[in-house]
């Protein structure tokens, strides 16, 4: 009996201590590398700690447009069935953003019959881009289902999803991915704004579209900070930068530093049309199958 106890104790001690050491070694190695890098930076006087870029949520952008009277136009969103046809990682990440903006548009316009399909699409893509942990909670999915038809409740669930995503991104250092997701969501939000506006609300919506351009500078900087650039993301960054420059060159924008409010901002129809073409081209390139 004594022998058995000693053997069992020995084995369990070995198992637990080796597991612990493995993790500790991993953590301490990772921390050490990070420390060394930061130490080096401090010695060299460089200011290269990870930059923080503030980008709003797709839900907030959707909410801004919706409050300005943007109507729901069926068939404008990227069809959920396209999801299966996105092959590359960049396509999946960008369209995760596109579908997030679509879901916000659908929910904010009370189209609950489509909401479940889009959430499922987002969940499916999340597994493929390494964000599966955010959506794995059955409780969350159940809350979403139960909230359908109740605008406030479903928005609360979406806010919770956003918060969990932000936490997950931060804990796993996935900021690069989240910037690409935001690019997809931003372009889709702009596309919906351009396509769903009508003569009655065009003035207000165009002010809102122009207002969105203030985010573009942050978005381009965030995409440029990406350490693992792929050709298509590099191209997207260039295109967004071009769009930013187009906006900054506009005659209406000459005194942009003095714009007190976008509420009264007027953009000519010609420039609005040009903006609309650029946005539509960008969106088509991302969502095409």
């Amino acid at each position: 009996m004594d022998k058995k106890i000693i053997t069992a104790l020995f084995i369990s001690t070995m198992i637990f201590s080796s597991c612990g050491e493995g993790t500790k070694q991993e953590v301490s190695k990772e921390e050490q590398t990070q420390d060394d890098l930061l130490n080096e930076m401090a010695e060299e006087g460089e200011d290269q700690e990870p930059e923080s870029f503030y980008l709003p949520s797709a839900l907030q952008i959707g909410s801004i447009f919706q409050k300005s009277g943007l109507a729901y136009v069926k068939g404008l969103t990227n069809p959920a069935s396209n999801e299966q046809q996105y092959i590359t990682k960049s396509q999946k990440i960008l369209n995760f953003g596109v579908y997030s903006a679509d879901l916000a548009y659908i929910v904010l316009n009370g189209q609950s019959q489509d909401a479940t399909a889009y959430l499922k699409t987002i969940k499916s893509l999340s597994d493929k881009i390494g964000f599966g942990a955010v959506f794995e909670s059955e409780e969350l999915m159940k809350r979403f289902q139960n909230s359908l038809g109740n605008q406030d409740s479903i928005i609360n669930v979406m806010i919770d999803i956003q918060m969990q995503t932000d936490m997950f991104v931060d804990e796993n250092n996935l900021q690069d991915v989240t910037h690409i997701i935001f690019a997809g969501a931003w372009i889709e939000g702009m596309y919906l704004g351009v396509k769903a506006s009508n003569t009655g609300n065009q003035h207000v919506i165009s002010g809102r579209l122009v207002e969105q351009m203030t985010i573009l500078d942050n978005l381009v900087k965030a995409l440029r900070s990406n350490n693992n650039q792929t050709d298509d993301i590099e191209q997207l960054t260039k295109d967004l930068n071009k769009l930013d420059k187009f906006f900054m060159r506009l005659e209406e924008n000459k005194n942009s530093q003095n714009i007190a409010s976008f509420r009264d901002y007027k953009i000519s129809q010609e420039h609005m049309d040009e903006l609309s073409i650029i946005i539509t081209e960008l969106r088509t390139r991302i969502t095409k199958v």
Binding site: A8, C19, G45, K67, D170, I215, I259, S261
Partner: protein
């Protein structure tokens, strides 16, 4: 046998505790809950973790936050994960711009504080400067690091019907 089981359970629990110990210099789970409480009744829109490295020289780290014209915003700062105190200033224009106005100034020793830009100013972007003082450890070794959690929320015109937006906010 009972002793054996107790020892195994003890070993297992100490292993699990070790696993739960914070592996990073920014263990922010509790802080996030505090920020979320302070955000009420504003709707959550974003959270960023600003990594702060204290170097052997003074420097300023600036971030910009775009805001929309007809929404009210609350920025909740939590600085309790900083090893040394810093100053935080909010401006209406970026560094280097002439006629830049300071909108708010805070000391990190306050641990948690809110800032709400005045909607009347018609701002579409605010700039947050972290003024990080030089530091060198007692033993002459290099740097220390920490982080600031910044959570933002917005409130739309629906809330105008409520006279005191903080009435239900948790302390």
């Amino acid at each position: 046998m009972r002793i054996l089981l107790s020892i195994v359970v003890l070993l297992a629990s100490s292993y699990l505790n070790a696993q739960q110990a914070p592996a990073s210099y920014c263990p922010k789970d509790d802080v996030v809950i505090k920020c979320r409480k302070a955000l009420v009744p504003f709707k959550y829109t974003n959270m960023i973790t600003n990594r702060i490295v204290f170097k052997r020289f003074n420097y300023v780290k600036e971030i910009s936050i775009p805001i929309y014209y007809d929404a009210r915003y609350r920025f909740v700062f939590n600085t309790e994960l900083l090893p040394k105190d810093i100053t935080i200033r909010v401006y209406d224009k970026p560094q280097g711009e002439k006629k830049r106005n300071i909108l708010g100034e805070f000391k990190s020793s306050q641990k948690q504080f809110n800032f709400e830009p005045d909607p009347e100013l018609g701002l579409y972007e605010v700039y947050i400067d972290f003024l990080i003082p030089a530091y060198i450890a007692e033993d002459g070794s290099s740097f220390i690091k920490g982080c600031i959690i910044l959570m933002t929320g917005y409130e739309d015109e629906v809330s105008d019907a409520f006279s005191d937006s903080e009435s239900d906010a948790a302390e």
